[in-house]
């Protein structure tokens, strides 16, 4: 059984093609792994019967030689994706009992390619959080534990908001996991859990059918065990969708080919920028030194690394925490108890609204709705929202300027390794700081990837991030392939199923 769980998606696809395993066997192994690791609270809903049916159908297609890109691969779905006939709540009490009569475009793409649905996965409520602690279903535990140091013996966060997805990946209770990333919600949990996580170019994956958090920032992407799986899954998830006005009608570069090219020929001549401004106060030495090591790995493969400046970086986080709540305050207005989800009756319409939303939303969601409502209010709009949009433009310009000279940027993924559950939720401001390296790519709409690059002195995973210009996911895959081989990260979480 452990042999099956240790296979990557690419390896499993090959084994399915070679008939050394069947889709039913593979799915059964993951259903059992999810049973065995249920304590981490990664799944909020299991669809094992549906999974077995889909696996049987996959085996039939494999037998007929009609297998798709992800044929027979078992996948747990972040609860932000609407799934037809399967309850979808965005981990919020307000959507309890909501069963969408439609499928999100991204998950539809996965099913069209033959993937098997294991269930729905925990996340921060409406994807608002960096520790997966705001979920109405409770926190998720990171399968990794500290081998020594102050965190030893403590339950750790898998990060957020795709914390359940990253935990399930690290626990090997799903083989692939689609996430959503508004300010780092794919890359930060991937870094905390020793996984690869990519946020593609804004518009690469359709937002249709994904519960909206902040529309101009939200973007779906893969969380995978390695870079080759990331290339594979990204290829399936991406599509132009006329049902999303912000969808991009441009072909995705051949990512599997980009991966093979980098593995075979290196990245000779690729220019990598090292942004000065990503050195932040209080960043642990081991993260600074891992960053330096990453630079050497890329140079060893033929890249030229140069220092660059992104002068407006320090304003990214404040701008993000105005724009994202502003959009969220409006996007979440539809959860009013009138048409679907939970309703708490009241004496009047306004009373019903207040009671429904008071009971249905958690503290973090309420906090962001309040912030967003405030920054859009008459008299404050220019000082906050308009100024934040100007900052956003300056940050975009920073990237445009450096990408005139370099092909990609190398930065740490996070300012720390995973922290203890409960530690950061006491102080919302410090939780926001988790997103300091990831938020700029969301503001600029450009692609970025986090790759596991080593362990902290406590034995916890650390990630490095590559950021590329719009539409250049191929550059990310090439650079990530080099970092991955050089790092040789082959550690497995102690909480992984076996």
């Amino acid at each position: 059984m452990s042999d099956i769980l240790s296979m990557t998606a690419v390896a499993a696809r090959q084994a399915l093609d070679n008939k050394t395993i069947s889709a039913v066997e593979l799915t059964e192994a993951y259903i059992k792994a999810a049973d065995d690791t249920a304590d981490n609270n990664a799944y909020v809903l299991r669809t094992s019967d549906k999974a077995m049916e889909m696996a049987k159908a996959s085996d039939k297609r494999l037998a007929k030689g009609e297998a798709g890109l992800l044929e027979g691969i078992p996948i747990g779905i972040k609860d932000m994706f609407c799934t037809q006939g399967v309850e979808t709540t965005a981990s919020s009490a307000i959507l309890k009992g909501f069963v969408p009569p439609y499928e999100s475009t991204v998950t539809e793409n996965l099913w069209q390619d033959g993937a098997v649905m294991l269930g729905k996965i925990n996340c921060d409520e409406f994807a608002m959080g960096s520790a997966n602690e705001t979920s109405a279903f409770g926190a998720v535990t990171n399968p990794w534990i500290a081998s020594e140091g102050p965190l030893q013996g403590k339950a750790l966060t898998p990060g957020g908001s795709s914390g359940g997805s990253a935990a399930a990946m690290a626990a090997r209770s799903t083989l692939l996991a689609p996430g959503t990333d508004t300010g780092g919600s794919i890359r930060q949990p991937a870094a905390f859990c020793g996984l690869v996580g990519m946020k593609p170019t804004y518009g690469r994956c359709s937002r249709r059918g994904i519960v909206a958090f902040a529309s101009s920032l939200d973007q779906a992407g893969p969380i995978t065990r390695d870079v080759a799986d990331c290339a594979l899954m990204m290829t399936s998830m991406a599509s132009y969708d006329s049902g999303d006005s912000t969808s991009i009608d441009a072909p995705l570069p051949d990512l599997m080919d980009a991966f093979a090219t980098a593995k075979n020929a290196g990245i000779k001549g690729m220019r990598i920028g090292i942004p000065d401004e990503y050195t932040v106060d209080g960043m642990p030495d081991q993260i600074a030194s891992l960053w330096e090591t990453g630079r050497k790995w890329l140079e060893d493969a033929g890249a030229v690394c140069v220092p660059v400046s992104l002068p407006h970086t320090q304003y990214a986080l404040p701008a993000y925490y105005i724009i994202a709540p502003a959009e969220a305050s409006s996007n979440l207005a539809r959860y009013d108890g009138v048409r679907y989800g939970q309703r708490v009756d009241g004496a009047s319409l306004d009373d019903m609204y207040a009671k429904t939303r008071g009971a249905g939303f958690g503290d973090e969601v309420k906090r962001r709705i309040l912030i967003g409502t405030y920054v859009l209010s008459a008299g404050y709009y220019d000082a906050y929202y308009i100024k934040a949009q100007k900052v956003r433009r300056l940050i975009q310009n920073d990237f445009t300027n450096v990408f005139a000279d370099v092909d990609a940027l190398l930065t740490p993924s996070t300012p720390s390794a995973a922290f203890a559950l409960g530690d950061e939720s006491k102080d919302p401001l410090s939780m926001f700081l988790n997103d300091v390296f990831t938020v700029p790519a969301n503001l600029a709409g450009i692609p970025a990837i986090s790759v596991p690059a080593g362990l902290s002195s406590d034995g916890l995973p650390l990630g490095l991030q590559l950021i590329a210009p719009s539409l250049r996911e191929d550059t990310l895959i090439k650079g990530a392939a080099i970092l991955e081989s050089a790092a040789g990260f082959d550690h497995v979480a102690s909480g992984a199923a076996s």
Binding site: A90, P100, S216, T246, S329, S330, L376
Partner: protein
């Protein structure tokens, strides 16, 4: 109540107890875009379906559902802008107007706030005395309609119908250029006529396809603008005029009694003909407008706009001028016939190649009169344009007299028959055969030898008597011209 007495001056003034007042009126007209589908979803935008039958996942604001602009609605808005002689903004932005209401599923209305699709323009109105005035258009923007709440279906619950949720509206905002209810009514009439000619809004106010919000204030002539009130959701031209007159009278009375006007939103009560307060400025919503991140800015191709401009249909002003030039119609007839395109098309079909003025008279007087009596409109007229044209032809070619034509027309209205069928069947054909008429004249003269002598003795007035006798003998079918000529020859000869 203050008497409303408008003076004939350029800017009509209202006489109050303490002197004269000038009225300032601006209108916001919501016109439903004529389109099969809604503004941001594919569901049907047609009128008359059962509750919630035309609702898509987008219209109901289901989680993760996204708006996609309907290109045809954009085209309709641009055409309307061109028809209003307005500036077309090649770059415009959709904003969210945020507020909570049970029939607003998204919790916001998608509208255009700072950068509308159409900028400044103007239209020319014609008043009853024939004078014309230009009324400025400030802007036109596209927005979604909300659903409908029904509070009278259940003792404790409200029912929601989302059929209208997401239907495309054009909000057309005038400059405060109007000074009387008559001007406001003329403005809405003209605007409706332009929209109908363009085919961009059906203008059916009773179905809610067009509604107006009236901004009204009063001031002493030449003084600073007074505080305005906004009376919302007026759905007929008569109500617009009534609401303005009642609001003007109320404002003057309040001020003349020493009070002040509060900026507020008011409702018009159709049963009393008065306005009453709905909400004051203090209760006004903070709509928290911001650009909708689900939609890209709307960027129009200048060549496409130019193509639309070149292919605009003929508009009321141009049509009126052409009717006068081409058919020699009077300004009065031309205005009447150019008010809507169906009437004009009907007229042109009937008048082609005929005595166009006579056709206009028959249309304006006889047919409109008859349709009015029958409670019908032109679209379901029992007489076709061709039939009316043929009837006029029979008058022109002397087959029947104008008087007989009215009898023929009455039968046509009943039966829908062609005029020739009626004339034939009823034996209405005018007798122009000189032999037959001469025989009738001889008979009449033989029976009235005394009158013949009197006439020949100088009593000229008796000529009419002889004509009458002959027409009577011919049952009205003798050609009056021929009768006149022959009778004169015989009596005088």
């Amino acid at each position: 109540m203050t008497d409303i007495a408008t003076s004939p001056a350029t800017s009509p003034l209202v006489e109050g107890r303490t002197g004269q007042w000038e009225v300032v009126i601006g209108l916001e007209v919501h016109a439903q875009v004529s389109s099969q589908a809604k503004l941001f979803s594919g569901s049907s935008a047609t009128f008359g379906a059962g509750p919630n039958e035309h609702v898509s996942l987008v219209d109901a604001a289901m989680p993760g559902m996204l708006p996609v602009i309907n290109r045809f609605c954009v085209e309709q808005a641009v055409k309307t802008g061109l028809g209003l002689n307005a500036e077309i903004n090649l770059f415009s932005v959709f904003d969210r107007k945020n507020y909570f209401y049970a029939d607003l599923p998204q919790g916001y209305q998608i509208s255009q706030f700072k950068q509308p699709i159409v900028g400044e323009g103007s239209i020319t109105i014609t008043l009853a005395d024939g004078t014309t005035r230009d009324i400025g258009i400030e802007r036109l923007h596209l927005e979604q309609d909300a659903g409908k709440s029904m509070h009278d279906q259940h003792p404790t619950k409200s029912y929601i119908d989302l059929n209208r949720s997401g239907v495309a509206l054009m909000e057309i905002v005038s400059r405060p250029d109007m000074h009387s209810a008559e001007e406001a009514a003329a403005y809405v009439t003209k605007l409706r006529s332009i929209l109908r000619f363009l085919g961009t809004c059906d203008g059916n106010m009773e179905q809610g396809s067009m509604r107006a919000d009236c901004n009204v204030s009063v001031r002493r002539p030449g003084a600073e603008l007074g505080t305005r009130t906004e009376t919302k959701n007026l759905n007929s031209i008569r109500f617009i005029a009534q609401a303005i007159n009642s609001e003007v009278a109320r404002q003057i009375e309040v001020i003349e009694d020493g009070g002040t006007i509060h900026q507020e939103t008011r409702l018009f009560d159709t049963s009393t003909g008065q306005t009453r307060p709905m909400r004051s400025k203090e209760d006004a919503h903070d709509y928290r407008y911001f650009p909708d991140p689900d939609l890209l800015p709307l960027e129009l191709d200048a060549a496409w706009v130019e193509h639309l401009r070149q292919n605009l249909p003929e508009l009321p002003d141009a049509l009126r001028q052409r009717l006068m030039d081409q058919f020699g119609l009077s300004a009065y007839d031309a205005v009447l016939i150019s008010e809507d395109r169906q009437t004009a098309a009907w007229y042109e079909a009937a008048a082609a190649g005929r005595d166009a003025k006579l056709v206009a008279n028959w249309l304006a007087v006889e047919l409109f009169g008859a349709l009015n009596r029958m409670g019908l409109d032109l679209a379901n007229s029992p007489v076709t344009p061709d039939q009316l044209g043929q009837l006029v032809d029979r008058i022109s070619d002397g087959t029947i007299s104008g008087r007989i034509a009215k009898d023929v027309f009455a039968i046509m209205l009943e039966s829908g028959d062609d005029p020739d069928q009626v004339i034939e069947a009823k034996g209405f054909k005018q007798v122009s055969d000189t032999g037959a008429i001469e025989a009738m004249i001889d008979t009449v003269m033989a029976e009235n030898t005394d009158k013949v002598d009197e006439y020949r003795g100088g009593k000229d007035k008796l000529f009419g008597f002889f004509v009458g006798q002959i027409m009577k003998a011919s049952k009205g079918q003798a050609n009056p011209g021929v009768v006149n000529d022959l009778l004169r020859q015989k009596l005088d000869g």
